[in-house]
């Protein structure tokens, strides 16, 4: 009897430790010799369990907007990311540092996880800033992705227009106790 109660309480507590992202933004930037391309998506979804420090984030690959022209966006979806085959880019893992995410404050942490872009998984450690407020956690993370790491090949003709290193910035606001 008491065991059942305890497990329910535990489950309840566990649920309460999960934060979900309500809004977010991913910006990527390619700075090549002849062209700078930037695109943004606001379709960022994610969850963070503050008790286990595990997290998962993803973005729909076809939701990126803001290329220099329509053709670029088409190439992005069809040739490079192949969004039909790989609809999402995902980062799942765990925060390395043990921090108390219930205590408001600004934390510099490192998220260790698997980054899946273009269906290719790479283990990464990403430096993030977490601003913990009463019921929200704001996460900012900047990192770079090398296209070769994710088997994204660029035709030689556009080589001067697309950088081999794509700079990515992620910003998301997460809310708990939903």
């Amino acid at each position: 009897m008491s065991f059942a109660v305890a497990s329910i309480v535990y489950a309840f507590q566990k649920v309460n430790t999960i934060y979900k992202s309500t809004e977010g933004k991913i910006i990527f930037l390619s700075e090549a010799a002849f062209e700078t391309i930037t695109a943004t998506s606001e379709k960022v979804s994610g969850a963070l369990d503050t008790s286990t420090q595990m997290f998962a984030f993803y973005v729909a690959n076809n939701s990126f907007e803001g290329f220099n022209n329509v053709l670029q966006r088409e190439h992005f979806n069809e040739s490079y990311l192949e969004t039909e085959k790989n609809p999402r880019s995902v980062f799942t893992g765990k925060i390395i540092e043990k921090i108390n995410l219930k205590k408001p404050g600004i934390y510099q942490v490192r998220a260790k996880g698997i980054l899946n872009i273009h269906g290719v998984e790479q283990e990464r450690i990403l430096k993030c800033e977490m601003i913990v407020e009463k019921e929200t956690i704001k996460v900012t993370c900047k990192f770079s992705v090398f296209l070769t790491d994710h088997n994204i090949s660029i035709p030689k003709i556009v080589f001067e227009k697309i950088s081999p290193e794509i700079k990515v910035s992620v910003f998301t606001i997460m809310k708990g106790k939903i």
């Binding site: 390395i96 540092e97 490192r110 260790k112 283990e123 450690i125 430096k127 770079s144």
Partner: protein, 977 residues
């Protein structure tokens, strides 16, 4: 009940590993890192490729070259300095792990953070290591371990099934695999093509403890591991078997903090129980040094052995250095201090026999590290005991020689003895030394040498003995013999007092003296080395050696201070079976290495100082250890160990040309303007840093080697040319076998000495001279021409003035005036003379003032007007102010006025009007034209002359305009400079 069990268990454990106070101990010396700081705690020690030692401490990173500890600067301000891990990779880069989790490298002599995109760990770095793929592995206490593959940092932690994230140590095995010791046992990790593999080994696999604090690889295929609570053990990496050595089956020495593996033993540093020395080969002896003499440090955090064999220990805020197992001291036996050792001998059972005022003793060394002392009472030997020599014969019997009481042959197992004295036929009862081979025993006495041949019943204590005498009567030089030695070639050697060395072979006696280069007269000790060379110790003249030379003749060699002997006063001599000869003096113990043909030595730095040893106290044990008995201690020297570096290690630190670094890996061309060279080198020899000598020679400058102790050589002004800087380093003043390094470079000639520059300079100089000459020529021509023109002008003017017409007209006019007006006539003459005088005054000059020219004009006009009266009108409209500073060639205007009068008709009805005025910047002289009927011939020289003179003086040309009615000349005059 349970508590009682624990207490019983603890009691049991204590019972199993009793705490001994070990009398025998390695020498330990305190080393001061930095006088200016308190509480400096060494955490980790490494040695880099140049043999420089690096010490990571709580207060920063120090390096040590033997002479001084140097604290490295930290590049980033505010960076923490608590260093917990150090590693030198294959390229020689030094990696530094900090307590804060940061990672740094040593760059340009300072600590520089190693920035990675992934950021630094936030927990203490416990270890850094490189695998055979070149990945750098970093273990942390709290975040598992990391791998840096040169591009990215990867983490191994619990999610990757690493047993635990609290990692204490990281190590590689023979095949370069990475092993971790953590709170979760031992883990093997691999990282290949970004794939992680982890295997964990825990108590479930037989580990005694899951907390593994230290892993040390043993080349035979296993790790020595040290645990938090259950001591040390072996973990075999192929079979995954775990083995706990018998002495550690029940451990009660707390946490293992550090471990050091040596040839035969492993040293274990504990947190509270000092140092444990486990001899795993041989007699499996375990010794625990804590509160022992010379070792009072309960906590040993770090153990490190340098490549010279010195052991470094960090014990809280002490840094200790020890020669380790190579030298050990025995100062007490059964808690009684050792004193007055007269003779020593180690028997075939490794018992150490010695004599002192108590008579004959021996020490038994137990496997648990303890010692037992036994006193042998010899029947018939009377006090006071003066045993001068101890010897064991081929049959196991121990012989002792006494002062005044003859010799004894003793059975060491039952103490029965035979007294060999006058009754047996011994003529002298003072036996100074005994030696022998097989059944032949030789004794040195104060009445010559005695040879005893044992009978066939030599296995019996009281066997048959045949005694023969050798003294001054039958061939020896002297009766005072210190030692007799029979060598492998059955020659018998005699060390004599005052008479040098004698030798007896099949052909009889041979005596060696100064003609054989044996200068010393008194020898007391002889030994034969493993290459059958013979060594003779003198009391005052060092060491003599008898061996074959290159011509295969046996000759004597002499060794003294210059060869590295600590002293020429030798007290003990003994050859071991590893190719060494051990020489004992008051100042230290030297060893001659027969392979290297050189000495090395132990001195004050390893606690060997002021030795007071008797003549027969240096003995070889069957296990190769040499025991030396001194007045207050035994010293044992183990030469069985792996050979360590025995000479300074010489490397360049850097080289500079006028403060700029030279890349010593490349041939350099030094420009003349940077020709101030400095070479810094180091000869690292931690064993005796103060004895390192250098010699350098700049090939191309120096003919001879220059001796120095400085670690810098500077060359302020090398002449252009090719050079090789050679430096060598020795621990003695003998550089014969010393290590040498060198660096070749070229000093370029200064630019003004290079061929092309010289040629160019000559060319330019030639051109300049030529141009100058040419210019001068032109100038001379010009001046000459000017002079000529001037002369021409003067001539012209004079010619004109002395023109008979002018004079005729002037005198005619004068004649008219004289009649009419006498005063006017005088005035006329005055004006005329004035005119001529002015012409004479000014004709030599290039330029005169306009004012002066106008005076001439005025005089001239006056003279002419007397003749033409109203037919000549001269209008001078020049304001005073305009004259100032203006210069004009002399008579230029006068010539023009004269021309005007000459070429025009002058009548009262049509007068000649001459105007002189300024128009803008021009002085204009203008007259109306009314031609004469009978034209005077015009030479045209007047205008031409003025034009040339103006040109030569560099003045603007005159402008001549001739209209129908007027003749106009314009001057642009020069300003007065």
């Amino acid at each position: 009940m349970r508590r009682v069990k624990i207490v019983l268990a603890i009691l049991f454990l204590i019972e199993c590993m009793p705490v001994y106070l070990f009398a025998q101990f390695p020498y330990v010396r305190n080393v001061e890192i930095d006088k200016t700081v308190l509480n400096i705690k060494v955490q980790t020690i490494i040695q880099d490729k140049k043999k420089l030692m690096w010490l990571g401490t709580n207060l920063g990173l120090y390096n040590y070259d033997g002479a001084a500890f140097k604290l490295l600067a930290t590049k980033q301000s505010g960076a923490d300095v608590f260093i917990t891990a150090l590693f030198c990779d294959k390229q020689g880069t030094i990696w530094v792990g900090l307590k804060s989790g940061k990672i740094a490298q040593v760059k340009n002599d300072s600590l520089t953070l190693f920035i990675m995109d992934e950021g630094f760990p936030k927990e203490t770095i416990t270890g850094i290591i490189e695998d055979n793929l070149g990945n750098i592995w970093i273990s942390t206490y709290g975040e598992g371990c990391y791998v840096w593959n040169g591009k990215r940092l990867y983490n191994f932690s619990k999610e990757d099934v690493l047993a635990d994230k609290y990692v204490y140590c990281i190590a590689t095995d023979n095949s370069g695999r990475i092993w971790l010791g953590s709170d979760g046992g031992i883990s093997q990790c691999s990282f290949n093509n970004e794939k992680k593999q982890i295997k964990n080994f825990t108590t479930a696999n037989g580990l005694p403890d899951n907390i593994i604090k230290k892993l040390i690889w043993d080349k035979t295929g296993f790790f020595w591991f040290g645990t938090d609570n259950f001591g040390v053990g072996k973990f075999f990496t192929d079979s995954f078997k775990i083995e706990i050595p018998a002495p550690f089956q029940s451990w009660n020495r707390g946490s293992v903090e550090s471990m050091l593996l040596m040839e035969n033993e492993v040293w274990i540093g504990t947190n509270e129980f000092g140092l444990i020395d486990y001899e795993f080969s041989g007699n499996k002896q375990v010794r625990n040094f804590i509160n022992a003499e010379g070792f009072k440090y309960p906590s040993v955090q770090c153990l490190f052995r340098d490549d010279e064999g010195n052991i470094w220990m960090a014990c809280k805020n002490h840094l200790l250095r020890s020669p380790g197992e190579r030298i050990e001291f025995l100062k007490t036996i059964d808690n009684k201090p050792i004193s007055n050792i007269h003779a020593t001998m180690v028997d075939t059972k490794k018992r150490l026999w010695y004599s002192n005022e108590n008579g004959l003793n021996y020490i038994i060394f137990n496997t648990d590290g303890s010692e037992e002392n036994k006193i042998i009472s010899i029947k018939d030997l009377k006090a006071p005991y003066k045993i001068l020599t101890i010897f064991q014969d081929a049959f196991g019997y121990v012989w002792v020689g006494t002062f005044d009481q003859g010799a004894f042959r003793i059975n060491p197992e039952n103490n029965q003895s035979v007294h060999i004295n006058d009754t047996k036929g011994l003529i002298n009862q003072s036996v100074l030394s005994i030696s022998g081979k097989r059944s032949v025993i030789w004794m040195a006495t104060l009445s010559g040498a005695i040879k005893i041949e044992l009978g066939d019943d030599a296995l019996k204590l009281n066997c048959e003995m045949k005694i023969e005498y050798y003294n001054s009567q039958n061939g020896l030089n002297n009766n005072f013999i210190y030692q007799v030695l029979m060598d492998q070639n059955s020659r018998v050697w005699f060390a004599q007092d005052g008479k040098g060395i004698s030798m007896l072979d099949k052909n009889g006696f041979h005596h060696f003296s100064e003609k054989d280069s044996v200068k010393s007269k008194t020898f007391f000790s002889i030994t034969e080395d493993s290459n059958l060379g013979l060594w003779f110790a003198s009391t005052d003249d060092g060491l003599y050696r008898y061996k074959k030379n290159s011509k295969n003749e046996e000759v004597f060699y002499h060794y003294n201070l210059a060869n590295g002997l600590p002293s020429v006063h030798i007290t003990g001599l003994c050859a071991d079976n590893n190719g060494n000869v051990i020489i004992v003096c008051k100042e230290g113990i030297a060893m001659f290495d027969l392979d290297e043909e050189s000495f090395h030595w132990y001195k004050e730095a390893v606690g060997i100082d002021n030795l007071d040893s008797d003549l027969n106290t240096t003995s070889l044990s069957p296990d190769g250890i040499v025991w030396i008995g001194c007045s207050n201690q035994f010293i044992n020297i183990d030469n069985n160990l792996e050979e360590n570096r025995q000479a300074p290690y010489l490397t360049f630190v850097n080289a500079t040309a006028l403060l700029d670094q030279i890349n010593l890996n490349e041939y350099a061309s030094i420009s003349a303007s940077r020709n101030y060279l400095a070479f810094n080198y180091q000869g690292i020899w931690f064993s005796n840093p103060s004895e390192v000598n250098f010699q350098y020679k700049m090939e191309g400058l120096n003919r001879d080697w220059i001796n120095t102790r400085d670690k810098t050589a500077t060359f302020p002004d090398l002449k252009p040319g090719r050079y090789t800087f050679r430096v060598r380093c020795s621990r003695t003043t003998d550089f014969l076998h010393s290590q040498e390094i060198n660096y070749s470079f070229v000093v370029l000639s200064p630019i003004y000495k290079r061929g092309w520059f010289v040629l160019l300079s000559i060319f330019i100089l030639g051109s300049l001279t030529w141009a100058l000459l040419k210019f001068r020529d032109q100038r001379i021509n010009f001046v000459q021409r000017l002079e000529k023109e001037k002369l021409a002008s003067q001539f012209e003017t004079l010619k004109n003035q002395v023109n008979p017409h002018f004079l005729f007209n002037s005198f005619n006019t004068l004649a008219n005036i004289i009649d009419e007006d006498k005063t006017k006539a005088i005035e006329y003459i005055e004006k005329l003379t004035d005119f001529f005088r002015q012409i004479l005054v000014h004709r030599e000059k290039d330029l005169i003032k306009l004012e002066e020219e106008l005076e001439i004009i005025n005089d001239y006009i006056y003279l002419q007007q007397q003749r033409f009266e109203k037919a000549l009108i001269m209008n001078i409209q020049v304001a005073d102010i305009q004259w100032k500073n203006l210069l004009i060639p002399p008579l230029a205007l006068q010539i023009l006025v004269e021309n005007a009068i000459k070429h025009n008709s002058l009548t009262t009805s049509n007068p000649l009007v001459i105007d002189l005025f300024f128009e803008n910047e021009y002085l204009v002289i203008k007259n109306n034209l009314q031609f004469k009927l009978n034209k005077e011939p015009s030479t045209g020289t007047g205008i031409q002359n003025i034009t040339r003179r103006m040109q030569m003086l560099g003045l603007p040309a005159i402008i001549v305009e001739k209209t129908e009615s007027h003749f106009i000349v314009k001057f642009k005059l020069a300003d007065k400079k």
